[in-house]
Symmetry: none
Amino acid sequence: MATNSVKSLGMRRQPRQARSQERVSQILDVAERLFIADGYNATTTNAIASGAKVPIGSLYQFFPDKGAIVGALAMRYTEQLHHRFMELDATEMVSLNLSAYVDRIVDTTAQFFTDYPGYHSIFMQVQGTISELEEIENAADARLIEALAISLSRYHPGLAAIDYEAISFTLVKAIGTLLWLSLSQEQVLGERLVVETKRLMLSYLQGYFESK
Amino acid sequence: MATNSVKSLGMRRQPRQARSQERVSQILDVAERLFIADGYNATTTNAIASGAKVPIGSLYQFFPDKGAIVGALAMRYTEQLHHRFMELDATEMVSLNLSAYVDRIVDTTAQFFTDYPGYHSIFMQVQGTISELEEIENAADARLIEALAISLSRYHPGLAAIDYEAISFTLVKAIGTLLWLSLSQEQVLGERLVVETKRLMLSYLQGYFESK
Amino acid sequence: MATNSVKSLGMRRQPRQARSQERVSQILDVAERLFIADGYNATTTNAIASGAKVPIGSLYQFFPDKGAIVGALAMRYTEQLHHRFMELDATEMVSLNLSAYVDRIVDTTAQFFTDYPGYHSIFMQVQGTISELEEIENAADARLIEALAISLSRYHPGLAAIDYEAISFTLVKAIGTLLWLSLSQEQVLGERLVVETKRLMLSYLQGYFESK
Amino acid sequence: MATNSVKSLGMRRQPRQARSQERVSQILDVAERLFIADGYNATTTNAIASGAKVPIGSLYQFFPDKGAIVGALAMRYTEQLHHRFMELDATEMVSLNLSAYVDRIVDTTAQFFTDYPGYHSIFMQVQGTISELEEIENAADARLIEALAISLSRYHPGLAAIDYEAISFTLVKAIGTLLWLSLSQEQVLGERLVVETKRLMLSYLQGYFESK
DNA sequence: TATGAATGAGACTTCATTCAT
DNA sequence: GATGAATGAAGTCTCATTCAT
């Protein structure tokens, strides 16, 4: 029944023209907003299309199905994450003391969640429902984990690669959860949560870096 | 899986008779399984009913709507959590050294997630979608957080109440996420994740308890 | 499937005991109220039963099905109508002039509709849906029509029986509609409508009675 | 039955293309037939859709819900009524004597009910059940009443506007009921009822017009 | 290529009625 | 006889996706 048998991982057609790219962007923006506001299932593809002022038919020219929209959203987040960490990496992190290093990372991540509130909220909802997502999402986090692992190994060399991986995985997931939660808490608790997140990360890294 | 009693809150009728309680349990067991396997939205009330060998009409005699089923599931988890921590509390935790104390808590939590794999998986999916859930889930976690706060204050007195709260909140959420993730990882990474979780918690608590 | 194959026209079991009669009365009172308020279909038999504080099982011991409740309601109206007209008949109507005679009849009818606002409202909704009703309702109106025919023939003899019938039919239906409508109109229009109803009836009868 | 255009008010989408208009007409025709035959509540939207050979989804593209179908039916009747009375108005009614004038009006109305047997039958059933209907239906009758009031004031000037309104209201409702009933009576009684309706109207108007 | 009307499987839920206790 | 939990057919309406124009 589907004329398109290629289960593309992302989009059906790579938009090459300016207008198309704009449209895809519009669609993703609207989808993100609606997914956050109403939930993934309550958001209809028609609502996304009309919200983005794009004919539903056109939407399906860019995305093979509803899941692909979340997929593309995931890709977009991944790009952003990558971008942010490249920026972070450009600074002279190595010269910082551990506390400052931790601050930088946590603050950057917190900022990311503030800028992209859908990152967690959307993907949590879709967990296990959309098979295509698994790969993308894991990819997104994996990239982040890898970037952190590299940063850690640069900041404090000497551990095994597997250790950097494990530490990075643990931190990315724990920090991600805590900072995401901090957003939905009332002011005071939210801020305290950021402080605790830093303390958690700092203590953890100290255990690895300063135990000799 | 469990034939314990379930407190209402969204339930239409309190099942008083043995047969009814069994049915409700059946429904919840099947619902849990399907929610985990297919996701909340992909799971139909009819599938739950037929899976539990209960007429759909009967299902709706116990639960006003689909959301109430997740609600009841949440309550059931809450009961279990409470139960587990009461058991833990009964042991002489205070006499343990910090490392052993942490081990106990993490292992207990890990066991809980193994026994109730739906705890995280289901609730993450429904985040923000089901309003009635919010309260239940928050209540569930709040209870857990409070229990941990009390345990911590007993184990190592001297901090302000607000600090125990913050530490407990941080730990419950971080540990919850990490242990939940450990379940879906391959053997080796999964086990390593448990180790890291303990290390994370231990370092963090040491920072609070051993800094003088 | 039905253990009771006797499609009784009214009730399943004639309540002989005081408590039963009271219960039937309760049921009909509640049913009337709900039918008017929510409409026939939106009113559930369970709502009627619980409103009347009668177990649903008992309700079905008095009434074979939902339709029978409307049927019984119709019967009750019929009785009342009959009763009212017997009372009216007892007075010395013959001695009144035509205008006073008309006033009496219209006012009595208006009073009846005020006392039993369900009379029209319920039966209109059910038109054609409940076959058993047809007979009852027709019977109800037929009885009224016959009573008016007799009254008219007494008041002004000399016409053929068929004429009294036709006149009475015409009047009962026209007056019924107008007075029923007058109830749902705002004060002023409602009262005017009663006046016009009298005028309509008076003119019509004058055309028959005073044309010589 | 009629392929005329239908004004929105409860319609989801204004059908602009010929095919759509035809579909809407089809839906309304079938709905009318089923509502009359089985009653409003016993008629399912699926039955209407399949009867009209229109997918259920398409039906719901034109009508937001079941009630809107009755609403559209009401609008269609209103259009027809207006049309008929415009035609009647075009003739030289003023030159007729009262008896002929009454004949014209009653015959026209009788013809309308014959052509649109659903007019009364359907709306009586739904009285008070469908809120959106109230406005439409009242509008339909109101338009008819106003048209008659104008006709009366032209035919026999000299009364107050309020009187024409009251007379017209009274006549429209009374005549409507009687002629509608005449349709469901056996031949002889039906014809007699039309005669009586004319007599009723004539006497009533004579009382107003010839009383000096 | 772009559009948006059309499609129909299927979701959730209700409620008249029964019958085991 | 009295009770009310149990039943499941059936109703209304949604929405992801297609395809004729």
